[in-house]
Symmetry: C2
Subunit: 435 residues, 2 copies
């Protein structure tokens, strides 16, 4: 690592002029604020204008170098030390697994004193950081993008799907996708539909705590994902994250029935309406829920039409939002209604207009758990009569992604049939306990 790893242009000049090196404790002044902390190295893809320091409260902050009025070195800090261990002996008999990075650093070696992070992504670096991986698989890696997941758009899902297909064709027996957690469950749903019937396990994973914190969950999530994929027990698209706040067990969730249910906890991801498909405890994979297999051919359908909206209903909902979406030429709407699938009847005229114009309007519930049942109350029956399609217990985010996928790959007159068909476990069987 160079003394000012990753800094360029104006940032680099500011730091050099002040005699500052990575790890030093520094003060930065802008017109409005004063910051102090240890200088961190930058990652390859970072915005070059920012200088990043680790504040004493443990968080990192980036400061726009153009706004800096003064920068001084308070005292020298310990430099991050990192000597890569020797490359492990890779056993050629182990399954070939590809790890794709989509954004952020999925594995890293940290100097806890300074908080400095050394991003790693070559297979060698990854082995050196998580040497356990070499016991389970022959890893090959590729950084395919560097997008914080809230910035992902449906076209990014297509790009990831294309890359996955390439990796399958290259003979990989499993594929791990490192992904930001914000929209990881949307992406896992997108890939589940796009790559339905895929012949190998595909596992999305990420980290809730940034890898420069002692509490990071990145390593265990990555190891467990590789273990699950290498055992080739189940094909399909899964999402692997911590089962609990303990750093020991990882849950393997169905890609279409999982949600991020906490902003920061390590076990934020939860299966909705079903158990996780499997757990990985140390190197033991336990399958909890066998999904019905179909033996259909793997025929990827990787297009998405983003001209679709998810609308969450609430008291006082402005039905003009529906009118505006209809007038904008949108293809469909997923409603997140209340309870068993209701909205205020003030919305019915706008919804009817949407359906009369040929749009698909599907109903899900903002309860998130449980099943839509629109025949019970008059509000539901009225919406059924208008032509709203009840989407059973499909979770709202999955319904949105499925509708984008349906309009991306099928004709308009096929959409309703596709939406009601259980493509890849997005619907669960009706509970025997009834409603």
């Amino acid at each position: 690592m160079s003394e000012l790893s990753g800094y360029k242009d104006n940032s680099l000049k500011l730091l050099k002029d002040a005699g500052i090196q990575i790890g030093d404790f520094i003060k930065i002044y802008t017109e409005t604020t004063k910051y102090s902390g240890n200088l961190l190295p930058r990652y390859e893809y970072s915005n070059v204008n920012y200088i990043v320091i680790k504040l004493t409260n443990g968080y990192n902050i980036g400061i726009d170098s153009k706004k800096i009025t003064n920068i001084i070195k308070v005292k020298s800090g310990e430099k991050p030390k990192f000597i890569p261990p020797p490359k492990p002996n890779v056993k050629e008999s182990l399954p070939k697994i590809a790890i794709l990075g989509t954004g952020g650093t999925i594995a890293s070696r940290i100097d806890y004193k300074t908080g400095a992070v050394n991003p790693a992504f070559s297979a060698e670096e990854l082995y050196s950081i998580i040497p356990e991986l070499s016991a389970y698989a022959n890893i090959n890696t590729q950084l395919i993008s560097n997008i914080a997941s809230e910035q992902m758009n449906p076209e990014d899902w297509k790009n990831i799907a294309e890359k996955v297909i390439e990796k399958i064709e290259e003979g990989n027996k499993g594929i791990i996708i490192g992904h930001g957690t914000d929209t990881m469950a949307y992406s896992s749903a997108a890939l589940s539909f796009a790559l339905n019937n895929c012949p190998i396990p595909i596992v999305l994973t990420g980290a809730q705590r940034s890898t420069d914190r002692p509490s990071s969950d990145a390593s265990l999530n990555m190891i467990s994902s590789v273990i699950f994929a290498s055992q080739k027990m189940l094909n399909g698209v899964y999402l692997a994250m911590h089962s609990s706040i303990e750093d020991n067990i990882v849950s393997i969730h169905s890609g279409v029935r999982v949600r991020k249910n906490h902003t920061s906890k390590r076990d934020a991801f939860q299966s909705i309406g079903i158990e996780p498909i499997a757990t990985v405890n140390q190197d033991k994979v336990t399958i909890s829920l066998e999904l019905p297999k179909n033996n259909e051919k793997f025929e990827p359908k990787i297009n998405f039409n983003e001209n679709v909206s998810l609308l969450k209903f609430h008291p006082g909902f402005n039905s003009e939002i529906i009118d505006m979406i209809v007038n904008s030429g949108a293809k469909g709407i997923i409603l997140e209604g209340t309870g068993l699938g209701h909205v205020n009847s003030r919305c019915n005229k706008s919804i009817k207009n949407a359906i009369d114009k040929g749009m698909f309007v599907g109903m899900t519930s903002q309860c998130l758990q449980g099943r839509i049942k629109m025949t019970v109350y008059s509000a539901g029956r009225d919406l059924l009569e208008i032509g709203v399609t009840p989407l059973e217990d499909m979770i709202p985010e999955t319904a949105l992604v499925k509708l984008m996928w349906a309009y991306g790959n099928y004709q308009d007159d096929e959409i309703k049939e596709i939406m009601l068909k259980n493509i890849t476990g997005e619907y669960t069987k009706r509970s025997k306990l009834g409603r």
Copy 2:
């Protein structure tokens, strides 16, 4: 009960002409469909045009009498039998509790053979159906509306608040509000803000299973609400519903930190980010979480401005929805972002425009649990710079209701301060475990 209790006009004529009585098994033909089931009586407030039967699958259905082409009696059914028991001895020393009905039947006596329901709402009828109530309180009742809760609008919250204030002035020591479950948590938040510092306990309750099913949760929820209110241990606005799928314990939730998290289960309502405030097990009330008391004066502020929207972000979100809301002259927007409080930067221009026009834009998380923290990632920092207000761990629905309330009762330049002030427990203290 008359032979055709509740039927009027055309419905009554059709039934009389066919010689049909309540409880009879009948067939109804419309131009498109055939229905068969047992004729049910109607409630006082029901739409007179509908004939209601209990289908063999256990659900009730209403059929528009104008669409009926033929109606025949197949066989006589057992008539619902109901002999009110004698009025219990009411002890004048017990606390005076008002029960307000807002919609639906909150307590009823059922003939399970026919499924016929006898709606009850006078205090005498209520005592006869839930005789336990007389051991805990002197009940007075009033049916103030008959609105399925998905049809409730912010002006209905104001109407309920006005009625509650009347009942407080009449000397009631507690008030129970029977409410449909779809939007009950929105209403409990609305009343929590409108009636902040109220001098008595106010408890919203309802039923997940209709009262004509053996699995109904209505009675236990009502009894437990009355027990909690009659013990006068905690003032404020609460929501009382089953703690589990067992019919034994009821949770008393904070009115501002509760959500309907399942479409149909009896324990659908859950406290978010905190424990329930109390539980009621038989007649034992256990306080689990003492909320900080303030000794401020009870000064109801019962107006709501519904010109506010809750927008749930998703990949592919159409930022023109924000533009349309701004152009419609709306006062504010609550965003339901991803993770720690993010949206795609494609939305930033529209959000900035909203804020530049003086609108309040607040950030909550679609994770629903956990805290907003917008300083960690650049997407959050950019939104902070634009002027988006992070709303900590306030749940999105409560944030929406609070913003409607803030704009209903305060000046535009006070809104941000009000939104960030912890009025009635809508924010929890920061966890000691940090982020």
